[in-house]
């Protein structure tokens, strides 16, 4: 099992990263110029990595499927970014951020990685401010903070409700500067379809030019995958329409282990599903829970009237409102972590207290905050979110409560990486949401942006040198090597196969079917019987897909249906692995809730004795069952307790 060497440095927790940096190799400037790195994905992780690596002198090629690197889905993150600055003097610290993240993740992440994340977090804020990110400020000119779910301090920095946009534009601007200098070659509208290995090491990728349809080969000394999460396996999610798991999945098929795939985050505050024509779900930032109170009616007859549209929520007096989060979790109230808030909403709706026509929504009410602070304060804090809500639902949230319901949002699981962020394939790195490393079984709000930028600005640029220092004698990769020819052929064959099925049903038809299976059996609540059923049903629908999918258009032209077909084909496989992983993990932790493992009050019950490990799945070829390896998690600095937000 030498493959699973996590390379966590020796020494006390607070010294591990500095000791590691002192111990790893550094590449000289003269040699950096000769080394090429491919970065796939240009979100916070990819853009910050590509820019920082190019600044160091490496030759970088960056790829994104979007028409511009600025459009990666990090752009849609709303609420904020955490950092242990302790600007509020509320006793925040690196250790507290580390502890909150480990606890929030339900003790299923690595201590050393999480500590390092907290340790570099203050540098991220410094960096972003220097780039011109217009964070919210106090009247004295200093940076403002807000509070987020699952923590008791205010450490979240924000740029209105568009923090992800502003941070990504900061990274994109840094990337643009390197493109202009010729240090980064940018390939927009290019999709990575395979990773190429030579002598066991990652040496390049095969990508499709989405405009011409041409399949092209690109060589490098290392490949960095920063392609985000696989939440779209559920069809409906808060991810962008193009977000996909295919790049990470190709890495898996080439030997990179996939870890904790069953850990996906269900975000409690999304706009509920309407009808069956919907294509995606819209998130309402978690920051809204700072000032909004979540409730459903106490009386079932009120809920029934609301469902029929016969009653206005404002006509339900306070004493008939069940502020169920405040009731169940008095110490954290509306700011419990996402997994807890999502399950509590589901519990109320399943019990018949849901408030929209489908009975699948709860209220998020700003009446109390508006009474307390005035409308103008609420408008300044959340104006753009309120506007977005009204445009979508035609309801004015200043006058009537918002309706919200949980939706798939983020993938904590992902490619396994060691402390250097390298996968089990030498020279292949995975950063940001694409890897598994920092969020355990549940991610805290405002920590995704922190992790993406930590990996890209401050971790990978150091750790990649340790590997590349041994590659300085390796000449420029020859893209005519047989490995490239073979990989290109496999990619072309697969696309042609999809295209030539010429069946009767659209890609979306299959994607929606898969989404239903995933939501019903691998969603907010899971059990062994359902998971086994899911695996069987996914296999059946996949078989039907490969016989009956219809891909229109041309191979050698812009063809969104062909792109989708390839991604959905991978989603079947990802969904199946998620179900397998969920079946193996017969405990409830974080976003993963197994009905077999709950307390009498219905709270999640972890089983540390049996499951304090990272599941690491190894691909064993098409049609063969994957093999499960386990990386045991060792906790030396925190004591494992049942997570309580009561």
């Amino acid at each position: 099992m030498s493959k699973l060497e996590s390379k966590i440095p020796e020494g006390p927790l607070a010294e591990k990263w500095s000791r590691h940096k002192a111990a790893i190799k550094v590449v000289s400037p003269a040699n950096k110029r000769k080394l090429e790195i491919i970065v796939v994905g240009t979100g916070l992780g990819g853009a910050s990595a590509a820019a920082s690596l190019a600044e160091l002198g490496y030759k970088v090629k960056a790829f994104c499927y979007q028409d511009s690197p600025r459009r990666a889905h990090s752009i849609a993150a709303q609420g904020g970014i955490n950092a242990a600055k302790n600007y509020q003097n509320d006793n925040d610290s690196v250790f507290r951020l580390f502890y909150d993240t480990i606890k929030g993740g339900d003790y299923r992440s690595r201590e050393a990685n999480v500590y390092r994340l907290a340790e570099v977090s203050p540098n991220i804020i410094d960096q972003c401010v220097a780039q011109g990110v217009p964070f919210g400020r106090e009247y004295g000119g200093l940076l403002a903070n807000r509070s987020f779910g699952g923590v008791l301090v205010s450490r979240t920095f924000y740029a209105r409700g568009q923090t992800g946009q502003q941070l990504l534009l900061g990274a994109y601007q840094a990337l643009n500067r390197q493109i202009a200098k010729g240090n980064v070659e940018m390939y927009s509208r290019h999709e990575m379809l395979d990773v190429v290995k030579i002598d066991g090491k990652a040496r390049g990728i095969i990508a499709r030019d989405l405009i011409s349809g041409k399949i092209k080969r690109y060589g490098a000394h290392a490949v960095v995958v920063a392609t985000g999460g696989y939440g779209n396996v559920f069809f409906l999610s808060t991810n962008a329409m193009g977000s996909n798991g295919s790049a990470a999945w190709q890495c898996y098929k080439k030997g990179a282990f996939m870890s904790n795939p069953c850990f996906v985050q269900i975000h409690p505050t999304c706009i509920p599903v309407h009808g069956d024509q919907q294509s995606k779900l819209t998130l309402m930032s978690e920051s809204l829970r700072n000032d909004g109170r979540v409730w459903v009616p106490k009386k079932k007859e009120d809920a029934v009237k609301l469902q029929k549209g016969e009653m206005h929520p404002n006509d339900i007096p306070d004493e008939d409102r069940d502020f169920y989060l405040e009731r169940r979790y008095p110490s954290y109230g509306n700011l419990v972590p996402r997994d807890v808030a999502s399950r509590a909403a589901k519990e109320r709706c399943d019990a018949g207290f849901g408030v929209n026509g489908e009975g699948k929504a709860v209220f998020l009410d700003f009446k109390y905050a508006i009474e307390r602070l005035g409308k103008s304060v609420i408008e300044a804090r959340y104006g753009n979110l309120f506007q977005m809500y009204e445009k979508i639902t035609d309801v004015d949230p200043y006058k009537a409560p918002m309706m919200i319901y949980p939706a798939i949002h983020y993938s904590m699981g992902g490619t396994w990486v060691d402390y250097n962020l390298m996968t089990t394939v030498p020279g292949l790195y995975s950063i940001g949401e694409a890897n598994f490393s920092d969020h355990g079984a549940n991610r805290l709000g405002a920590s995704a942006l922190m992790q993406g930028l930590a990996d890209g600005y401050f971790i990978l640029p150091y750790t990649i040198g340790d590997y590349l220092a041994n590659e300085i004698m390796i000449p420029k990769t020859d893209v005519n090597a047989p490995e490239f020819v073979e990989a290109e052929k496999a990619v072309t064959d697969r696309l042609e196969k999809l295209y030539n099925i010429k069946g009767s049903k659209s890609v979306d038809y299959f994607h929606k079917k898969l989404g239903h299976i995933m939501w019903d059996y691998v969603g907010m609540s899971r059990n062994a019987e359902g998971l086994k059923k899911a695996i069987k049903e996914i296999q059946e629908i996949r078989e039907e897909f490969w016989k009956d999918v219809k891909v229109p258009g041309e191979m050698n032209n812009l063809n969104p249906e062909l792109e989708k077909a390839g991604r959905v084909a991978d989603f079947f496989d990802i969904g199946e692995l998620m179900a397998r992983d969920a079946l193996d993990r017969n405990e409830s932790c974080g976003g993963h809730f197994r009905e077999e493992s709950a307390t009498e009050e219905g709270e999640a019950k972890r089983n540390d004795e049996a499951f304090t490990y990272v599941s690491c799945w190894e691909y064993k070829g098409e049609g063969n069952e994957p093999v499960l390896h386990k990386e045991d998690l060792v906790f030396e600095n925190v004591k494992l307790t049942q997570r309580s937000y009561k």
Binding site: S48, E55, N123, D126, L143, S188, G275, P552, L558
Partner: protein, 267 residues
């Protein structure tokens, strides 16, 4: 109670969602950059007014696929109004007949039963059509590469609170930084000018002490690149501001002109 209930019914989605029984979608079809292109009209039935415009396009495309017609290519991604990918020119307006929204946030309740909706790509020399409604906006990336950044490398940065920034400056910078780079300003402008886009970035950075250092050079280089890429000049019609989904103000253009003049005089 009764009157409030009525208000809720009018404002509530559940009660307000209706079905548009029939619409005609008149849409630009162009197979590739070299193709001449033409309009085609497709009927579509039973669209919920609660659906977004792009969900309607998805449904139309599924109909077309079933009928063996090549589906319509259009750009879209986040569907939350923030990535700036979607770009349709609907009934003669960029992002269609609603204010302060992108096409993905435009909902079908803005259209009438039986209506013929005309859908075109952005039309500008600097944004050539790739296919159907998809255009090439890399010109925007190139403008920003010419100077839309602060020249700092990663690392070695002093504490973020070292330089205080006035609340109002930060807010104004944020107003300008809210630009999503969709190109509606160019599509709305009779001259296909990119001045609103360029001025938003110049203003955003010029308003902050971190960006002020290079303000002159930035304005000069970005304007030169904009001209080079074939965008037109600004004649102050203000169409860009009206159609901007993020309400970027044309006062930014005045600021850009000021920065630009200062830059020219100091040459």
């Amino acid at each position: 109670m009764y009157s409030r209930l009525l208000i809720y019914n009018r404002k509530s989605k559940k009660m307000a969602d209706k079905i548009l029984k029939k619409l005609n979608i008149k849409v630009w079809r162009q197979n590739n950059a070299a193709d001449k292109g033409k309009f085609e009209t497709y009927p579509i039935e039973n669209i919920s007014t609660g659906s977004s415009f792009l969900e309607m396009m998805d449904i139309l495309n599924n109909d077309l696929i079933e009928k063996g017609i090549d589906p319509i290519a259009f750009d879209h991604d986040c569907r939350e109004g923030i990535c700036g990918t979607c770009s349709l020119y609907i009934n003669g307006r960029p992002h269609g007949p609603d204010t302060e929204v992108t096409t993905c946030q435009l909902h079908m309740r803005k259209f009438k039963e039986g209506e013929t909706i005309t859908v075109e790509p952005w039309r500008a020399k600097a944004f050539p059509v790739i296919k159907d409604l998809v255009v090439d906006r890399t010109a925007f990336d190139k403008i920003l590469q010419a100077g839309g950044f602060v020249s700092v490398n990663t690392g070695g940065i002093p504490d973020a609170n070292t330089i205080p920034v006035a609340y109002e400056d930060a807010e104004e910078a944020m107003d300008a930084a809210a630009c999503i780079g969709c190109g509606a300003c160019v599509a709305a402008c009779k001259n296909s000018s990119a001045m609103l886009f360029v001025s938003a970035k110049v203003s955003h950075l010029a308003k902050l002490p971190q960006g002020k250092v290079e303000a002159k050079k930035r304005a000069r280089n970005m304007v030169a690149k904009m001209d080079e890429l074939g965008f037109g000049g600004c004649t102050n019609t203000g169409a860009c501001e009206v159609e901007c989904p993020k309400s970027i103000s044309i006062t930014n253009i005045a600021r850009l002109n000021r920065e630009y003049l200062v830059a020219r005089f100091s040459e």
